[in-house]
Symmetry: D2
Subunit: 332 residues, 4 copies
């Protein structure tokens, strides 16, 4: 039986809490959140206890800390968990600063604890089915990747102030997908990156300053090519697709729909919009990544998404921000 302390009782914390509570052989023991009501409510729901970070790290019965608190607390909690010899599951990103993220990676390795970063998209049933087909060689060698990643609507401009910008806040997932599909099992890595972008959705976003629409091109050392297109707003909902061209074919990952009803009438043939946003689309992925985390802890197998993956995606986000600012291609 593994005892878990959860940091964060907000939106994503509640999802992880519920998923942890539903796992066989795992107990959600503590919930930590500076917002006392949120912590109490989440703890009550799953028979856990509200706790302070200090008490969590001092309790030898705790095996695992799950970090779903705000981004700017991640690296500190990772470092303290490593120091306390707890295994770590941490929401992305490790840290908005690459050096701080890299230092975390160093710390967990030095401490010898396991640390998985929550790039939940790699656990999405559609995306992981595509990856399995790639690994089985069903389309030969992957050569080109097109990622479409659009939110249903832009957050208020003030939220974006602390977000690190679109590349670190939103495309971080797409950079991880790029590495997962074109690099990690291909002995390849990013060589050059070019980013461009605009404010097309909400002029307030320009004042942050940030952009709301972006395009990124990455070329790998072996000459593979990746294009990412992203918008903060798609009128039809959350648009999460990618397609890979390989030497023998193509894999396309489509959106998920709430139901498979199709209506035909005088105005056309109508299917439902995609699942509304990440909580719906990635509901199963959030569950599966925690199943994977505890299975790997048990078996000693490597995590699908390591802290090094977290650092690597962060570096690509930094490169994109630099390319946008300079208007030039960045060599990695």
């Amino acid at each position: 039986m593994k005892n878990v302390a959860l940091f964060g009782a907000g939106r994503i914390g509640r999802i992880h809490g519920s998923n942890i509570a539903g796992l066989a052989g795992v107990t959600l023991k503590y919930v930590c959140d500076p917002v006392a009501d949120s912590a109490a409510q989440l703890a009550a729901q799953f028979g856990a206890t509200v706790c302070t970070p200090e008490a969590v790290f001092a309790d030898p019965s705790i095996d695992v800390v799950a970090i779903g608190s705000p981004t700017d607390t991640h690296s500190d909690l990772i470092n303290r968990a490593a120091a306390a010899r707890k295994h770590i599951f941490c929401e992305k990103p490790v840290d908005l600063s690459v050096p701080r993220a890299a230092a975390c990676a160093q710390a967990v390795k030095a401490a010898g604890v396991a640390c998985m970063i929550g790039f939940q998209r790699r656990f999405d049933p559609t995306f992981s089915a595509a990856k399995e087909r790639l690994l089985r060689g069903e389309i030969g060698v992957p050569e080109m990747l097109v990622i479409t990643s659009r939110d249903p609507g832009a957050p208020p401009a003030h939220y974006l102030k602390g977000s690190g910008g679109i590349f670190r806040d939103m495309l971080i997932h797409d950079f991880d997908i790029f590495r997962w599909i074109l690099c990690v099992d291909e002995g390849d890595e990013a060589d050059t990156l070019y980013a461009n972008g605009s404010v097309l959705v909400d002029p307030e976003i320009a004042k942050v300053p940030d952009i709301d629409s972006s395009v990124v091109t990455i070329r790998t050392k072996k000459g593979r090519l990746c294009q990412i297109n992203t918008s903060r707003r798609a009128a039809y909902g959350y648009d999460q697709r990618f397609e890979v061209l390989g030497s023998n074919g193509m894999l396309q990952c489509g959106n998920h729909r709430p139901s498979e009803v199709v209506q035909s009438d005088a105005s056309g043939v109508h299917a439902e919009k995609p699942e509304h946003f990440f909580l719906q689309r990635y509901r199963e992925a959030y569950r599966l990544e925690l199943v994977h985390f505890f299975e790997c802890l048990q078996s000693g197998a490597a995590f699908r998404t390591t802290i090094d993956d977290g650092v690597a995606a962060q570096k690509l986000a930094d490169a994109a921000a630099q390319s946008l600012e300079s208007g030039a291609v960045v060599r990695l």
Copy 2:
């Protein structure tokens, strides 16, 4: 807090047990199954206790019995639960005999207990989305219904001996869908029924005797038309679709796929097969029907699927068996 006793720790019992255990405000207290190991294992998994039927019915703390035991035990358990003033959730069918099923309906009404029959398809996200659109009038008045219902493979012939035949064992669900879509909210009911069928899949099935492929036509009193086609074997998996033609359009319910990956290669463009069988396709439906059951218990609202629905579907199955045997159209 509602306390529940579950009858049946087999395949379907485990599904209901898991779903009951996951509900807020509901406790799975007892598990009953003559196979002691199955009962013990399921009880242990969810912190319940193994129990005898006698003790269940005698325990005043039990509010609800959930019946997922073999078909031939349903009517007896319903009657005993009604006598003990327990609310009842029972897997379909009520009973293979229409008179016994009708007697159960009488008994639960006399006892004043709530009784829902598990026609889980009405809770499938796709089917229920279609029904909601119908109720909103999106395709006008429903006129014709085509139901396709095919299993991935035929069970062994010996299983079919006790099944009551294809109409009572398999099409019972389709008869319920027919009533749900063309009758219950339309002030309509079946008027004539014609069934035909063949043994095309497995000659052993002829010796049961039973058939493995069937077609049924139902005409309602208002002249609406329904066609059902069923096979015990579809090489591509579990095929569960229906389409309704209305005065202003059509609704089609497609199959669900495990993922939305599409592979294009030299041999074509390939999507995944439908979810393998009912445990996969209706996983969410099984969960949602229990959510509905306890919500209705709480609010006093009517169940979507009553014991009268169970009796009515059974009557259509009997009519189909009679039509097949006589080769003639049956008036209901």
Copy 3:
């Protein structure tokens, strides 16, 4: 070079005329139509001459007569063409009376002329691709067939007076599809037929008297099963689909769309409606059936759709009318 005389310069005559004129090695020489203006206009468009039937049959330079005139002229023209030793392409049906149709079949055989009936659906790119897959054994042995055949809107009731009723006017094509898919290459034939139907679209149709919505079930001697559902009105346009279940899989023939544009917006994901009606959907089929006709004339190969096919479909239409009237199953 083959010289052709065309009977009929109405809607379907103009289609055949245009297709004949576009064929290499074929000359549209004469056009016959009692409506002089129509005949003149069509003849002028393709460099042909207006002519009388008498002159056509007397002209030894004419090799082929193509009959696209009203239904009640077909059998007479076939008989006269056979007597004049002209090869014959005739629109369906041969005749609304089975005995008269059978007499035509006898006459063309006695005369030794070639005669093809225009069941153009067998030449539709989608339907013929499905048939080729069936013949290659891609889904094993065909077992069940579901045909959906719906017009975009009902014709005026007065038109239906002379139509022979829905089974002879509309389902004649579906009966031919049934025979083509489940019988002709399978050594099988219809054994029993059951038809039902209603007036759900337009009460005026009841006064014809006719029905506007129908369902037909056919069982073959080998136990294969076919269901046909038909309506005179589908709000979303011309709906022409069939699906075949075989021992190793299923083939589905979908509708054709004017374009492959899909629009996603706040109200859903929208594809175009099917091609509007038969002139659009079967435009290519009408062309391909004439290509086939002249290729067979040249090579001596058998037609895909013979006059015997025409008679056989007519018999099924008669059986359906009889079943509807009697309310009973008809043995063929």
Copy 4:
């Protein structure tokens, strides 16, 4: 009646010849090709006469020249046709040299003749349906465009020697689509362009030297963003899609399939591959562009694809080649 002289009796010449011959009010009078046999065969097929360029330009009865000869003859023929006061339909590109193309544009304007360039994709039923929806404002203001353009297989390396490189030979069409969708009716134009590419398909192509896989990013003056991805080889056939994100939704243009058959079997659910290559996919587009050409000649309306469009696309191709060579972003 318009008399036409056709230059080029090769693959594309035969398509244009056949389409011209099928038009009402248009006569294919002359065919010119240095390969005498090709010219004779094409002329014979449509009742035309083989002719020399000199005779064509000297014949006052010729209204139109249609140019489907090799690329390096286009600009000379355009100039001579303009001098002879013939209207011009010319296959893309105008010329591989932008200055020579611009000089042609100047020449036709000075001569006052009409000149349309054959960017047939703008006449594709799917692409033009999308454009019409854009113009009707169905997805609001267009913001981002993703173009996927892949050939079924790479031509032999020696063919590529004279092609001008992948940007001038293949992406020229995609540059035109970019302008058509994001610029021409939006008062916008390209501002910066970045191109990258690799040899991933055939190492021989590197020796040309050329590339076989490319990605291009274009940003317009108003900040709209376009990504193009192209490969000389897609194992599943000719892949011709684009999607536009607008402020109120998205339009996606899918591939066309030879038929709408879908096969479901033990290995999945299989649709057909896209139409094989441009002669199949754009067969209807090639016909419609000539219908448009002669309709505009008749009515005096502006062509959908002018010689200025030809020059503009050529400039983008030059910019892409420059970006690839320099590794830098190019300002237009």
